[in-house]
Amino acid sequence: MENMNFQVNLQGIIDLLSNHLYSDPGVFIRELLQNGVDAITARRKLGHQYEERVTVELFPSSHTLSLQDNGAGLTLQEIEQFLARIGSTTKKGDLDAAEAFIGQFGVGLLACFVVSDEIVLITRSAADGDSLEWRGKPDGTYAIKKLNNQAPIGTTVYLKAKPEYEDYFEYDRVSDLLTRYGQFLPTPIYLTEGGNEERINESLPPWKLDRAGALDYIEHSAYYKPMDAIPLHSAIGGVEGVAYILPYAVSLQDEKRHQVYLKNMLLSDKMATILPPWAFFVNGIMNTDSLRPTASREAFQENDLFFLVRDELGNCIKQHLIGLSEQDPELLKRIILIHYASLKAMAVEDEELYELIIRYLNFETSYGDMSMSDILSSYPEILVTTTLDEFRQIARVARSQGLMVINGGYVHDFELVRKLPSVSEDVDVSILDILAIANRFERLAGEERKALEPFRDLADALLERFQCRCSIRWFEPADIPALYTTNEEVNLFKLADDSEREANALFASIVQVIRQELYDEPFARLCFNYNNPIVRKAAASGDIELQKVCIELFYTQALLMGNHSMNAEELRLMNESLLHFMNRGLDEAVGGAR
């Protein structure tokens, strides 16, 4: 048996890598810059003392660009070993040294084939004296020749624009790209065209600036005035950075765009995952030395180290907020006011933060919107609803009864309220059982209750087909004749009813099992208010027929008041009872006029 090698269509592979690995043709500038900077680092390691620089020159008449570095250069052997072999890199051999370089995949030059049909590279190695020219083509062929003229030590790459890509070789575009990727690189970078020369990178990166400088930087580069700048630091990930607290509220759904630099070169300005998901109220700018990028170098490999670093950075933000509560509580209050949604999400997960901010947060209560510190100072007993719907059903009545009910129906609010006893020992929090709310109303005296039993029994009998049970109590406000409460499963049961009726025999029996064996029938409650004069009159009336119509109208009116959906039968009931009373009223009016 003979071992064979796979045959690879080189042109296809180059096309694949160069056109599909990268999301933006402009990355060729990044790849060239990176090779240049790495070459300079390599020469520095040889012990050479000299003025380091990278120069990009444009030749607009021929749509050509050159990028020259005065780094270590390449020998003939190195060219054959690395340039002409995809997937190898000069930076692999020495593991310790690899840390100092930005690139590591040996595919960087391929990015140039996106914009150019030929790469010409002129180089002279700092180690041996020959000047060499290498020409590579996207079909996978290349040629090397020795030059007679002596080139300076270092490497120059020449690219000529492919049709349609000329604008990537124009001054403004190149200047933008160089600034984007290279503005914080320590090696001086120059862009020249004709006689002009411009230094690209003179500014200090924001992570090297003090707080005022960092705030100033973002105001001038991103045109917003952050509320605060939080220094980020992770020792294990070699990360330094700044998290800017945004001056406006952001949605949880928005894609985060943090700017991340790898060894001072921009890796991505739309990295979402480098900070914890709850930190969506900040924009981060940071630089890392040790996280490993993916092959396209537009994201990091999400390994254990990555998540450790992310947690460490998250902790920086948290500790900063904790510090603020002592140094600048006013600022913290403003931050909470704007970013409460994000901070609520954080507080649910984190005890320390919860304790810090819970009192500043606002909640919807039966007494209107209130901050938790106000709630705690006046109400030792707190009820919390599990849904918005439940809250709406009883908010008004609860207030009249002097009950402090907090709406737990918004995201996180329920958990936040439930955790209150962990920060305040005097508070008692219980979950409101919406069906038992009537038990909190004033009971009627024994005799009165007895006298009203026939009325209640009549109501029970009438409303049983709507799965509704009745009671009579005394409660405020008097203008509400009856309160209808139901828990969240009532719609589910109505759906189950429909399904059981519609389904084929096999599935009807299945639905029946689900509703009977897994769920308790939810009975709704209708509590008549004996404080209401019309209820008192209806109960006192001896006319059973009239009482019936009154009960039906009380019921449907309570449904309407509570925003509950009515089925066809309930609508019919409302119509009939309304018409009944209209008719009665009209009869009386006409009779009286006679």
Binding site: D498, I514, S565
Partner: protein
Amino acid sequence: MKQRYYGLRREFWSMPDGKRKLVVLEEAIRIADQYMTESDAYDARMDYSSATLECGCPERLFISFSWCLAKFENNPGVYSSFSIMWHYKWVLNQIWRLPQFSLEQIEAVFADFERKCKQYGYTLRAYYQQKVNFLLSQGHLEAAAAYHKLWKETPRDSLSDCLACEQNLFGEYYFRINHLKRGMQTIKPILDGRMSCRSVPQTTYSNMIVPLLKLGEFDRAIDIAKKAFRSIEGPSYLPEYGVFMEFFTVTDMPKAVKLYERTIQLGLESKMPWDRFQYLLSVRLFLQQWSKVKRRKKLAESEQVTLAWLDEEIGTLAQAFNDRNGNDYMHRFIAEKEQNISRLVKKISGG
């Protein structure tokens, strides 16, 4: 009302998975039933069906699905056969999780699905796949092996699970019948990153933890558990939370406690007997280890969740499944699991 309907739908999309999300959609469906067209009501129910699985209330799937199936059967030209058959697959994957359904009922549903596969031009691959699951849950390994063979031999089609999911399930099959090495081999393409989808590799990770422990590959198990634990979130992973709780019980007690506190509410609320059984069984293994040492900390829900209560719950559930299945598989299942854990505890505390 239309406005309220669309408002509810909007709210639904922005809510985190959970029971409250379903409550919102239930109201929307009621509105669609009364004020909109039948196909609006149908679409709303189809969305609801998939939400029931994500929101940890899979038993509600039967309610919406039954209605949709009936409408589809009455009017097969109006609704997509593919969508309803895809949902039908979910039903097959849930129905045996309730001991309240008799074997006859379950077989009848399987038979109906099989008939519909033929009627609407799908191969029986999905049918065989579900059959394997059902048989394994009753401990019928030989019958499962026969269907496993049929499953692999039947050509794939659009009703089959995606390649990554299927590969994952093939692996799970070997784990379930205790062919651990074979299972590891099967999921290798997934671990190498060559196959993935929305739920793979997360589910693969949690599937392989117990097998890894059984194989004695502790370091690898710890490594995988870390990865997996980060990727599962939400109420649909109850049995998986159980797996991790067991795992942390033997490797990292404080983490087990944290996971318990985070998930116990979900477990208590879960109505699906099979999922509830799996989770509570893990809780019991955790609590047994936890109570071996005197502790000052009081666990959440400690009044309800006691060892005695767990014994009772687990016993009742296991008995219900055994009665339905007509064998004692659930008791064997519990015994094996307990044996496994105590062996591990010995090994880890001894080594």
